[in-house]
């Protein structure tokens, strides 16, 4: 028996297991558990009263919602309320010149008073009590990251007289098409850029609507301009970023390489000083990375050579792959020589193909900074291949993959000596 036998056998498992897995919906289970929980809690009279109050405030509004014409923002009446129905504890709010500077209360439903025009990015610190925010009639701007620390914020209501914001299918949207925040449901707790993009993509693909609704998505302190297209032939939806607005700069992307939907997706993350956006070109190892900083941006390309469709090298290249990542809110990189990087996901044991010694250089880790518009890499640590990879195991896998193409019966060390006559050490 080998791996293929098992893979083939899994292809013939009973249909009911496939059906069960396909239709499994954890959110329903969570919901039913919550319901059971509510029934138990209801045994306590005091708790019942609290729940009833909350239901009166939130639940009835939901039931009263008329059907929504989701293709036309100006007609959305979803989650519309009358802010004057809510009790506002003025001592919890610090408001200056119509700007909400901070909220210090512990309520789960937070109404924003009518005198507030702008919700500042510092208005809400970490507050796990807040689950619902009700925008007052005059809120006309919400600064980026205003809600980013509210892990359990799930729902928005908007005063019926507010002309600037709408709720459509749980998404809070500004009238210029900026998605402020979604009811992220089961994906919401971490609220990373990936979570937001994944959720929006999933929603649009599943419902095949709102193609013209979202023009921009707020991700941390950046705003991503997006475009949704419907492929007439396959009926599938393609969503991709057309520009990024960050640190007061807008950069447009000409190619459709910043796809949100589909198999190849771009990635982005933010550190204290930088916003990093990494493209993901299909069927090519070349990866462009934008590093935005306060004052400009740098477009970094891991390879300086050209690659054909199959990923084969045409010109010269740096012989290393640089990957940027975030740690402790700072920007770091790791560099891996191309000979250890290429095709490592596709071919079992290939990491040993060009390995020549146990102590061969394998990985460099360091910090990245932009100084006077230039990208500065500061190496902090290097690793040998043996420190990070189980090369004994990889060698066994490799001998199986290339059986007949390397001499039989070599030990790992003998193989490394044999290989060193054919390949250079990694630099």
């Amino acid at each position: 028996m080998n791996g293929n036998d098992l893979i083939n056998a899994f292809g013939k498992i009973d249909d009911r297991f496939i059906e069960e897995a396909e239709y499994y919906n954890p959110s329903k289970i969570v919901a039913s558990r919550k319901k059971r929980g509510v029934v138990l809690v209801a045994a306590s009279l005091l708790t019942v009263l609290t729940i009833m109050l909350a239901v009166l405030l939130v639940g009835e509004r939901e039931n009263d919602n008329p059907s929504v014409n989701t293709d036309d923002l100006t007609h959305s009446t979803e989650n519309r309320v009358n802010i004057s129905d809510y009790q506002i504890k003025t001592e919890d709010y610090k408001i200056e010149n119509n700007v909400l500077l901070s909220y210090t209360g512990n309520e789960s439903i937070v109404p924003i008073p009518n005198e507030v025009k702008v919700i500042s990015s510092t208005a809400f610190g970490v507050n796990d009590n807040i689950k619902t925010i009700v925008l007052g009639a005059n809120v006309e701007d919400i600064e980026p990251e205003a809600f980013v620390k509210l892990r359990y914020l799930k729902k928005f209501f908007v005063d019926k007289n507010n002309e600037y914001y709408q709720v459509v299918d749980g998404f809070l949207i500004k009238n210029d098409g900026t998605l402020v925040l979604a009811d992220l449901g089961e994906y919401g707790e971490d609220r990373t850029s990936d979570d937001i993009l994944y959720y929006v993509n999933n929603f649009i693909e599943k419902n095949k609507k709102h193609l013209d609704l979202f023009k921009k998505i707020e991700i941390g302190s950046a705003v991503l301009h997006i475009c949704c297209e419907k492929d007439k032939e396959s009926d599938s939806i393609r969503i991709y970023a057309t520009a990024l607005e960050v640190f007061g700069e807008i950069v447009s992307f000409d190619e459709k390489q910043y796809a949100i939907s589909g198999n190849q997706k771009f990635q982005c993350f933010e550190t204290e000083k930088y916003f990093v956006l990494k493209s993901n070109k299909n069927a090519s190892p070349k990866t462009d990375v934008y590093i935005f900083y306060n004052g400009g941006h740098i477009l970094y390309s891991g390879y300086d050579g050209e690659y054909d469709y199959w990923g084969n090298k045409v010109g010269t290249h740096t012989a290393s792959e640089i990957t940027f990542y975030k740690e402790d809110n700072e920007l770091y990189y790791h560099r891996i020589p191309e000979k250890f990087y290429k095709n490592v996901d596709q071919v079992v044991g290939i990491i040993m193909e060009k390995c020549v010694a146990r102590d061969e250089f394998y990985k460099e880790v360091g910090k990245v900074d932009v100084i006077e518009g230039k990208l500065i890499f500061t190496p902090l640590k290097t690793y040998t291949i043996e420190q990070l990879i189980d090369i004994e195991k990889e060698y066994i896998l490799w001998t199986e993959t290339v059986k007949g193409h390397i001499p039989d019966g070599l030990t790992l060390d003998e193989y490394l000596i044999w290989n060193s006559q054919r390949y250079e050490r990694a630099k």
Binding site: M1, N2, G3, N4, D5, L6, I7, N8, A9, F10, G11, K12, I13, D14, D15, R16, F17, I18, E19, E20, A21, E22, Y24, P26, S27, V30, E186, Y187, Y198, S234, D235, S236, G262, N263, N282, A283, W310, G311, N343, D345, Q346, V347, V348
Partner: protein, 188 residues
């Protein structure tokens, strides 16, 4: 369109069967192929091939669950294409990762290395899945039948990636133990 009607279209050799299948199950089959191949073009080709394979099989075959029937054909097509394309090293699908993970379930005892009958193995895996707790079973089927990336399984099941990874690993150990036991008792 209702599944019985689609099957009927195949039975009466009406080519609308292919259009209807693609409309209803195209996306599902594409996602299975794409999990394996990680390449849109090839995945679309596998999905198209699925309807032609179904055209050859129905009739006489009458699928009990049409979705699973198409899914299995697509999976098979995609695995074949993966092997065919492997030398070109295209795409970044899950196949090789899944293959590697499943290898862990194979005991190094010689007794189970030979004389394997596929039907027997399928029935053992069905028995094994039957006995698993529901959540573990769904996770296992998503990974080793649909070859879904761990990240997607975690999102779908509302769990952290590491949680899924460790659950899968534990279930693989169970499968290895189970297969070793059943084969050993058969052999004796």
């Amino acid at each position: 369109m209702d599944d019985n009607l689609i099957i009927e279209l195949y039975n009466i050799r009406d080519e609308n069967a292919i259009v209807a299948s693609d409309e209803k199950y195209g996306k599902y089959c594409f996602s299975i192929a794409n999990n394996i191949l990680g390449n849109n073009e090839d995945s679309q080709e596998c999905t198209n091939d699925t309807w032609f394979t179904a055209w050859k099989l129905i009739p006489p075959e009458i699928p009990k669950v049409l979705r699973a029937f198409f899914g299995k054909i697509t999976r098979n097509n995609a695995i074949n294409m993966y092997h065919k394309n492997n030398t070109k090293k295209r795409g970044g699908g899950q196949f090789i990762l899944v293959y590697d993970e499943l290898r862990e379930c194979i005991s190094d005892k010689n007794i189970i290395d030979e004389g394997i009958i596929e039907e027997e193995l399928v029935s053992y895996i069905n028995n094994f899945l039957e006995k698993l707790p529901k959540k573990e079973r769904i996770m296992f089927v998503n990974r080793y039948y649909s070859m879904e990336p761990i990240k997607n399984i975690a999102k779908r099941m509302n769990l952290k990636e590491n949680h899924v990874r460790s659950d899968l690993s534990r279930t693989r150990v169970k499968l290895k133990k189970y297969l070793t036991e059943v084969y050993y008792s058969e052999w004796k």
